[in-house]
């Protein structure tokens, strides 16, 4: 600790604190452009110059650490004059087109000139112009270099946080321009973090271009509705249209970063194709109707069936309150145990996953995970499924020494931060984990029950099926052995291929019990409230807060299976597009058509709604209040910004209306009362704090631990381990590629395909293959290929991914015109395809 004097006020700060931070702690304002706490210090803008007594020159406070006994002046006349001088220089070549600039009103340069600038500028020469017109860098980013203040935050955020390094400085001196190679973004994440950090109007959102002024906007604090990272963001509307989403520095886990989905994907809210009125099927055609009629039809039909012959599937994108009401409606009003929250995953796999990932042990902060000595990421394409988690991992791992291991069949951006990168065969996470366990077990760890179970398993078999060399596995095992604390980040591949879960469960036991390590497991999920949906009890196997329930219901798989056998009469589907998400399109369609009565509640007319008897228009995240639980178990509230379009209603109100048509007292009546009930029902949520402080959380930085769910002792005893079969090995002859699916960087589920901006980034499905395969086939990124599976074939463009595992093809799961689920069929784990070059 050192003591320094700032403007005569003594303050004690930690060693190596920057003068700037010390001054801000002491409450002295120091203006900056190029400084950002998370980025590499630069000291180039010279706005933060301060006077240090005894030193002739002014010193940049953003790169100068304090020394004991320093006496610093932040507002002496020399300092003020220097600031004014710097601002005069910045304005000398600044375009000064504030009336046209989208940043005007929230521009840091404007604010600073207003506050610190010279009364009058003396620059009367012709200004240097990079270009006359703004140029489009990407479908979402437009650039005007004439306004640049050369803080290079964009370059640094691109390299250090996003990890793509597309932006760089071109030219020298006053001709220096921060742009990309050939002024086009070739390999960019399109996340617009450069826009967010830009202090002036140099990088701008193209979708927001010339839409509004900052003072026209009404805003609400919310959480991103895409993946489960749970990024805090602010959405803003003008005249009922949401025009912008932005993140705030120092707020939420994400701080200032968002991914392309979060920053540009909100525009599905204003999509003209939103459903605005209830539809009821009359004479085989869906016709517009009223809410009274729709609810009456639902009541009439549903009361005709026995509870156990009704099924419900709710979207993991609904709020906790809505999901709670949904399962309450089924369990208490309709008397049905059949509720599930996903069309994609098997319910018993989910149960095993929850147990293996220890989700009942309470929330795990990603920052705590990154504090471990070894971090092991497996089963997740984290760079694409949870991009902001990827940013957090990259930023923290570059700052400290840790053993970061990434295991995935596909190459990803985060590989560059990892110490060990493992390319294993698709769906062999379990074999890889078992191989690691067996390697760890070589020197006979204290035998636990789990290890006995795999005693029979041969290391060589595991190694062979995972396709990873023994040497790499040994290296990972050594890394785990040498680490004091371990974090395992597990992704959705475990849910797609539940065969691997027992390996994870076993590794957890080995690390904790046999090796005595401090182990954290963080599930990486791809829907914003997936964890919340499970914790609210929208699952056939357990109730709210993972409580045991009396009778086990049917999951989505079982429901569809039952429907085809006429064992299920009616289904109520809230926000899930089963027909295009269930991994066997034909079966799902057949099952849904076989139902006697189908109610679908959705924002858009999807394949599933087209089969429905009653369609209820629901609302987007911007139109409701509630809370999401992210993958860490952090409960965060979303606030309403606008009203749903037309006669559409909030999902909670719809569920409540249906419930009340059966039972007058069904409730509670509003979101906060529902949450109070959740607190009473679920032990995990009892002490969760929903208070969101929209300011930088200084005490524990971005990590608000108050919001994490607590451990639940009520883990149902009946929690089953995965008991499905082992992956069936099939002939690979005609179909040399294993097809993987998941989320694309720009797309996630049905929401994103309704976003014009995201569809602008990637409209049609692409198939991604490794560079080795591409070289063999003689195709390049952009070539047209035919993907042929056993049940379906389709033509699409190919994208070559350097470093992926050979023989792996990837198609994202959400493209309406290329439904990847048609390649899959029930009963077979995974799908195999052949890829042939066209033209």
């Amino acid at each position: 600790m050192v003591t320094v004097k700032i403007n005569g006020k003594e303050i004690t700060v930690a060693d190596n604190t920057l003068i700037l931070e010390a001054a801000r702690d002491a409450g002295c304002e120091v203006p900056t452009f190029c400084y950002q706490a998370d980025l590499m210090g630069l000291g180039s803008c010279r706005m933060c110059l301060v006077e240090i007594e005894g030193q002739k020159k002014l010193q940049p406070s953003c790169i100068t650490p304090v020394l004991h006994g320093m006496s610093i002046l932040t507002d002496s006349s020399t300092v003020t004059a220097a600031r004014a001088g710097v601002l005069e220089f910045l304005l000398a070549n600044h375009a000064m087109d504030c009336p046209v600039c989208d940043k005007a009103g929230e521009c840091e340069l404007q604010d600073m000139v207003y506050k610190y600038g010279p009364a009058k500028g003396a620059h009367a020469e012709t200004k240097f112009k990079f270009h006359e017109k703004d140029y489009v860098l990407s479908p979402v980013i437009i650039k005007n270099s004439n306004r640049c203040v050369q803080c290079t935050k964009c370059v640094r955020v691109c390299r250090e946080v996003v990890g793509v390094g597309v932006l760089g400085s071109v030219g020298r001196g006053d001709h220096q321009e921060e742009t990309s190679f050939l002024k086009g973004l070739l390999d960019c994440d399109q996340d617009g973090n450069c826009i967010e950090v830009c202090p002036v109007g140099c990088f701008m959102r193209l979708p927001y271009r010339y839409k509004a002024r900052q003072w026209d906007l009404k805003s609400a604090d919310t959480v991103c509705p895409y993946c489960a990272t749970g990024c805090r963001m602010v959405i803003e509307e003008r005249d009922g249209v949401v025009v912008r989403a932005r993140a705030q520095h120092g707020v939420g886990v994400n701080s200032e970063t968002l991914c392309s989905r979060g920053r540009f994907g909100f525009d599905f809210i204003g999509n003209a194709e939103r459903l605005t009125t209830p539809l009821v099927r009359k004479d085989g055609v869906l016709v517009p109707s009223t809410w009274e009629e729709a609810v009456a039809v639902i009541k009439e039909n549903l009361s005709a069936f026995e509870g156990s012959r009704i099924g419900g599937v709710a979207s993991p994108r609904l709020t906790n309150e809505e999901l709670y009401l949904f399962q309450k409606l089924f369990r208490e009003v309709l008397g049905s145990p059949n509720v599930d929250s996903s069309a994609r995953w098997d319910s018993s796999g989910v149960e095993a996953f929850i147990k293996a990932a220890g989700m009942n042990e309470g929330g795990v902060s990603v920052f705590d995970c990154m504090d471990s000595d070894a971090v092991f990421i497996i089963g997740s394409q984290v760079s694409e499924e949870n991009p902001v988690t990827d940013y957090i991992i990259r930023r923290i791992s570059s700052g400290r020494r840790m053993n970061l291991v990434i295991a995935s069949p596909r190459a990803m951006k985060l590989d560059s931060s990892a110490q060990t990168v493992v390319r294993h065969n698709p769906a062999t996470e379990g074999a890889l984990l078992k191989a690691i366990i067996l390697t760890l077990n070589e020197n006979k760890l204290s035998v636990s029950a789990g290890i006995n179970a795999i005693k029979e398993t041969k290391l060589t078999d595991c190694v062979a099926s995972s396709g990873v060399s023994l040497e790499v596995i040994k290296r990972i095992a050594d890394g785990l052995k040498n680490a004091e604390s371990i974090s395992i980040l597990v992704g959705t591949e475990f849910l797609r291929f539940p065969e691997g879960i027992d390996g994870l469960d076993l590794l957890k036991d080995v690390c904790r019990k046999s090796l005595g390590k401090k182990l954290r497991i963080l599930p990486l999920l791809d829907r914003c409230n997936q964890r919340g949906a499970w914790e609210m009890g929208v699952h056939p196997g357990f109730g709210t807060g993972y409580r045991a329930i009396a009778g086990r219901g049917m999951g989505t798989h079982a429901m569809l299976e039952a429907a085809t056998r006429r064992g299920l009469d009616a289904m109520y589907v809230a926000g899930v597009d089963i027909a295009s998400m269930y991994p066997d399109a034909g079966h799902a369609r057949e099952a849904l058509s076989a139902l006697k009565f189908l109610v679908v509640q959705d924002m858009f007319l999807t394949d599933t709604t087209r089969l429905a008897d009653v369609v209820l228009p629901s609302s987007a995240f911007a139109e409701k209040d509630g809370a999401f639980t992210n993958q860490e178990g952090r409960v965060q509230t979303i606030a309403r910004l606008k009203n749903p379009p037309g006669k559409a209603k909030r999902d909670g109100d719809i569920i409540r209306a249906i419930g009340q048509s059966f039972e007058r007292s069904f409730g509670p009546d509003n979101a906060s009362l529902v949450f109070d009930e959740i607190r009473r029902e679920a032990e995990m949520y009892k002490e969760v704090s929903l208070v969101f402080n929209n300011k930088r959380n200084i005490d524990n930085k971005l990590d608000n631990k108050e919001a994490l769910v607590k451990a639940s002792s009520a883990l149902a005893r009946g929690f089953s381990a995965w008991n499905g079969g082992a992956p069936s090995s099939e002939e690979t002859g005609d179909y040399p590629f294993t097809l993987m699916t998941g989320n694309h960087l720009f797309h996630s589920g049905a929401l994103s395909s309704n976003s014009a901006s995201l569809s602008g980034l990637l409209r049609a499905a692409v198939v991604e293959i490794s560079n080795e395969d591409a070289d063999e086939m003689g195709v390049k990124s952009g070539s047209l290929v035919r993907v042929k599976g056993m049940t379906h074939e389709s033509d699409m463009k190919v994208i070559v991914r350097r470093g992926s595992k050979k023989g792996v093809a990837f198609i994202a799961e959400n493209f309406a015109d290329t439904p990847v689920n048609r390649f899959f069929s029930r009963g077979r784990s995974g799908a195999r395809v052949s890829i042939t070059r066209l033209g």
Binding site: S44, C45, R46, V86
Partner: protein, 419 residues
Amino acid sequence: MEKALLKNYGNAETHKIDVYIAGGGYVALASAMKMQSDQIIQLVKDSGLRGRGGAGFPTGLKWSFIPKDPTIPKFLCCNADEGEPGTFKDRGIIDFDPHLLIEGMIIASFAFGASKSYIYIRGEFAFGAKRLETAIKEAYQKGFLGKNILGSGFAHDMYVHRGFGAYICGEETALLESIEGWRAQPRKKPPFPALSGLYGKPTVINNVETLSCIPAIISRGAKWFSSIGPEKSPGPKIFGVSGHVKKPGLYELPMGTTIRELIFDHCGGMSSDRPLKAVIPGGVSAPMLNANDLDTKLDFDSLASKGSMLGSGAVIVMDSSTCMVKTAYIINRFFSHESCGKCTPCRDGTPWLTKVLKRLEHGEGRIGDVELLERLCSNIFGRTFCPLGDGAVMALRGFIKNFREEFQYHVDNKKCKAA
């Protein structure tokens, strides 16, 4: 005085190692290898050698900052990015006596334990770079470089790194960035290169001339060196004289030679009968001196007391036909073109100065322009990241201080006084 640095200047053969050895080359290296490294540093300290690149920092002191820990790799970088207009002294050594530099570098590396050294040479010196590369190859063959140098067990590798012609690469940290493959922009200091330099390792950056002095110091002793010139800044110094003198060129003279001696005794006086008007004593970033200051001694301290600096020792002589506004404009244009773009005052300030000077020069001056220039100078000076901006401003301030009336004449009469 017997020449130590330029003794082979103009000789067509001395770049070959055999000729160099025949002339007594690499003897200093052999004797240095028998010394303790601390002894060498002490010797250099005793000699009073100060850096010839411009700042005049004592070389021995610089070496002694390097941590002694033998497990840390250390680097030596030779700054041969001779970019200052008017300067051509290093080129004289590189082109004709590359082995002198190499010998100096090996001794320096041995002194503080550098395992690798880099010669950062500017891109335009293609000829010199080729000579250096050949010379290094020869030195490897003779065993002066490589695994076990002269049987001492000391291993050292040397590389030539060619720049691409940016003045800023002459700034030591920008030079390091450039070697590492980044954009040449200065780094923040501290940490100083002596602790965290090239690839984050302790690094010494020395000028060509500085390193070329080392063999002579080793072979002739510190006393010999410190006896030449004034006590505070001793030693031989190469002056590169250009401008309106009869015999421009490189002159190796003792430190402390006066400007008058240099111009009239050594360079044969002014090239025409027009009187001398101004002298820039150390490259264009050094503030100029006028005809009244001709008796100033050319050494670090004497020039500093006159408000100028020795810089690189590039003496530019101007006679009365020179328009000071035009000269200031040309010099400033150079600085604004070479500004790296990192910090605001230099990036946006120097082009502004250039624009005003250009206006003045073209007879479009406005009332208050001279005051504007002065105000801009004070806004830039001391607030830039590296000395480039300061250099530009010091030069211009020198012009305005000595020839204000000429600037004012341009403003008032829209034409030049000198023409």
